[in-house]
């Protein structure tokens, strides 16, 4: 298998090694309502108790409703931790988010995976929500680029090998 060392332009086909997570859920609510709850009321449903990165307990998660908007959590102490930002804002059809958390759950604006969420109206009160978290292979790319500077037996180089082995294993 080949591990990509350069981020690919979005217009190119996905490489064979591309890793993603895909999920679909059917929601008994109109498309516009589903989109609004996903975005404007993000903090009302995100499982914050178990999924936050700040040292403080998380009070809410916020998705700013515009392209370029921030995606972040706010702790009970008022501290804020970025997760990423909004890449594409097309209500009520589509949303693309940049997920900028590294393998050790730190925010790094130079590292990006993408979460695309499509809201498909299948009836007046029924919406299919399709989510894809893609470019997970970039966790390996990241390791590859860091290996050049950290030419060590442990460290990121070995993480790359681990990812390469995992990526080569059929899911």
């Amino acid at each position: 298998m080949t591990v990509m060392s350069q981020p690919q332009p979005q217009s190119q086909p996905q490489p064979q090694t591309a890793m993603s997570v895909k999920k679909t859920v059917l929601v008994d609510a109109p498309q516009a309502h589903a989109f609004a709850v996903f975005t404007e009321r993000h903090g009302a449903w995100w499982p914050l108790a178990t999924h936050h990165i700040g040292k403080a307990a998380a009070e809410t998660a916020i998705l700013e409703p515009r392209a370029g908007g921030r995606w972040f959590e706010r702790g009970v102490d008022g501290s804020e931790c970025d997760w990423g930002h909004v890449l594409v804002w097309e209500p009520p059809d589509r949303l693309v988010l940049a997920w900028e958390l590294t393998a050790d759950w730190q925010h790094d604006p130079s590292f990006r995976t993408e979460v695309e969420v499509r809201f498909v109206a299948v009836g007046p009160q029924s919406t299919r929500v399709e989510l894809e978290h893609r470019h997970l292979e970039r966790y390996a790319d990241k390791a590859d680029s860091m290996r050049a500077g950290l030419d060590s037996e442990g460290g990121w180089g070995s993480l790359l090998k681990i990812f390469a082995a995992a990526a080569a294993t059929p899911a």
Partner: protein, 112 residues
């Protein structure tokens, strides 16, 4: 392919902040219990306990070097990031579905 039940368990294993930090340290290279304990505000027995959980979930593995145990991320478990995200989105979308349906029902029943 990790079975869903194991994904959920792995999700639980990484849901703990200290375990996430240990996982992050091991992502940077193999480490002993003492190495890890030096970098975190937790005792060595606590580190060992967390490593046991991560090990039980198949996320880390270890070998013995003399009297030291050296831990590293498990090559099979490292699909862990993907599995973690898979479980995260499964959970998040289920919670989202519930919130969207509940609020829609409430708004329908409350005339404006």
């Amino acid at each position: 392919m990790i079975e869903p039940i194991h994904r959920i368990a792995a999700l639980g294993a990484l849901g703990d902040p200290t375990r996430r930090e240990i996982f992050g340290i091991l992502a940077g290279g193999p480490s002993s219990v003492a190495d890890i304990a030096r970098r975190l505000p937790v005792t060595r027995p606590a580190v060992s306990q967390h490593l046991r959980v991560l090990s039980d979930m198949g996320l880390v593995t270890h070998r013995t070097a003399g009297t030291r145990h050296i831990y590293r991320l498990d090559p099979d478990g490292i699909a862990a990031i993907r599995d973690y995200l898979d479980a995260l989105w499964e959970r998040a979308l289920n919670d989202f579905k519930a919130a969207a349906e509940r609020s829609y029902t409430q708004e329908k029943e409350t005339p404006r």
